[in-house]
């Protein structure tokens, strides 16, 4: 059986490599043989500039340094949002009184994209770090909360009944049944929230920053350096991709019990 799986995986990897190579070739050829070269540098230029930026700083830091700036901002906003969101979401899903109070608020706030908050955030917190933490927090909060809420709401009543019959009181049921039972939903929420947070940090940095990958992009625009813009974009993409993979790995470990098979 494993032989089939390996073969199928091999095929997927090969297909991915071919598709990316094809894209790069198309890009290269398109730029070389058209008048786009002013607007769009070729892939070789971008990639070599990217690799150079690993060692040679752009502005105040190497690309690695910029990445760390962005990630640290994400970390603060995301961590606060996750903790608050999980607690709020699960209690909302389990206790009707909490639901009645908070759910309408969330339904109003949820559709507002974090970017719309930028002007208000700048007014309140200025152009410094707190603004960025605040925006990232907003971006992540709604996702984590609503998913945690869905998780708590979808707890199978049979588990609750079984716990009651085994002598568990309400508090124990909340801690030992509702919380663990919501973990798969919570995790889905955390994954979406992380993507949101990462997207938001780039936007927040583009407002005003000299460090961070968003800063790299906006600086590139200011000095008319298209290559730098693309290097920034490439960095955003790579880091986003790596974050997603990390989350998926974590999920396989933390939700290992969640296999189908009743």
């Amino acid at each position: 059986m494993n032989r089939f799986k390996d073969a199928a995986n091999m095929q997927k990897v090969v297909a991915a490599i071919i598709s990316i190579l094809a894209f790069l070739i198309f890009w290269h050829v398109g730029v070389k043989y058209s008048s786009l070269s002013k607007l769009l540098p070729g892939p070789i230029e971008v990639l070599s500039s990217f690799l150079r930026s690993v060692v040679v700083p752009i502005g105040t830091a190497t690309i690695g340094g910029h990445a760390l700036w962005s990630l640290s901002r994400v970390f603060v906003g995301y961590a606060v949002a996750s903790i608050l969101g999980i607690i709020l979401g699960v209690t909302m899903g389990w206790y009707k009184s909490v639901e009645a109070i908070f759910r309408p608020l969330f339904e109003i706030i949820r559709p507002i994209p974090p970017i719309a908050w930028i002007p208000l955030a700048i007014l309140w917190f200025g152009l410094g770090e707190i603004t960025k933490y605040f925006l990232i927090f907003l971006a992540a909060l709604s996702n984590v909360t609503m998913n945690a809420y869905a998780g708590a709401k979808s707890i199978d009543p049979v588990y609750v009944g079984a716990a009651k019959m085994l002598g568990a009181n309400d508090r124990r049921i909340f801690l030992s049944i509702v919380l663990p039972g919501s973990v798969p939903h919570i995790f889905a929420g955390l994954q979406v929230a992380l993507s949101s947070a990462w997207a938001t940090v780039v936007a927040a940095e583009m407002v005003r920053s000299s460090e961070g990958v968003g800063g790299v992009i906006i600086k590139g625009q200011e000095i008319n350096n298209t290559v730098q813009i693309l290097v920034g974009i490439l960095a955003v993409g790579i880091i986003g991709f790596v974050l997603a993979i990390i989350m998926r790995r974590l999920e396989t470990r933390l939700c290992a019990w969640n296999e189908r098979g009743k």
Binding site: G161, K164, M165, L166, G167, S176, P180
Partner: protein, 259 residues
Amino acid sequence: MRMEREREIKENVIECKSLSKQFETDRGVADVVKQIDLDVKENEFVVLFGPGQCGKTTLINLMAGLEKPSSGQVNVSGKIVEKPGPDRGVVYQTTALFPWLTVMGNVEYGPKSLGVSKKERRKRSQKYIDLVGLTGFENTFPSKLSGGMRQRVGIARAYCNKPIVLFMDEPFGHLDAQTRYLMQEEIMRIWEQEKRTVIFVTNNIEEALYLADRIIVLNNCPTSIKREYKIDLPRPRDYVSSDFLKLRKEISSVVDKAI
């Protein structure tokens, strides 16, 4: 190996008096459980036998305290049942094992909820894990176990709280026919080793006759008692002995047909 067991006449462990349950539907009020009068003695193995899905689970839920009756009452050990409690244990058809806990975690959940010390509850849980034949699987997650093994965990978990009465709601319904035979033998072995009062629900006549001291034949919608049979056959019983087959024929002809 034929064994006769003397059973002392003891006080009733469970008494149902005119137990009834109705539900509101769009078509008005529906009787789901109607006028159940039932007395069960200590360590009796009573089987509720009947077709269909109508009210058997509701009846179990009423007796266990997971639902409140519309009228009538249930007494366990002389006290009225008003809410769920650890003196009554339940084994579910879907096992309802907590998937995020290991076998040990599931089995010790009851004692842990009741504040039993770690040392004591580990000891007790291990005893019941051994009793159901799952020694070595203490740290396995339910998703990695077969259907029959999961049900054993369910039984161990229910037993571990030392309940006065065990309710089993079609626990072997999702198992294939052969594993079912195995589990019937296993539940008998477990029950003989640690006697409890058991109320066991099934729609399988062979299973009912193999296990029961008494078979209560239920009507389908609404669930009510049709007839009672005392089963005096010595254990372990033989599915194809002439006495067994005679009873099987008789009870099958009495029971309602499902749709």
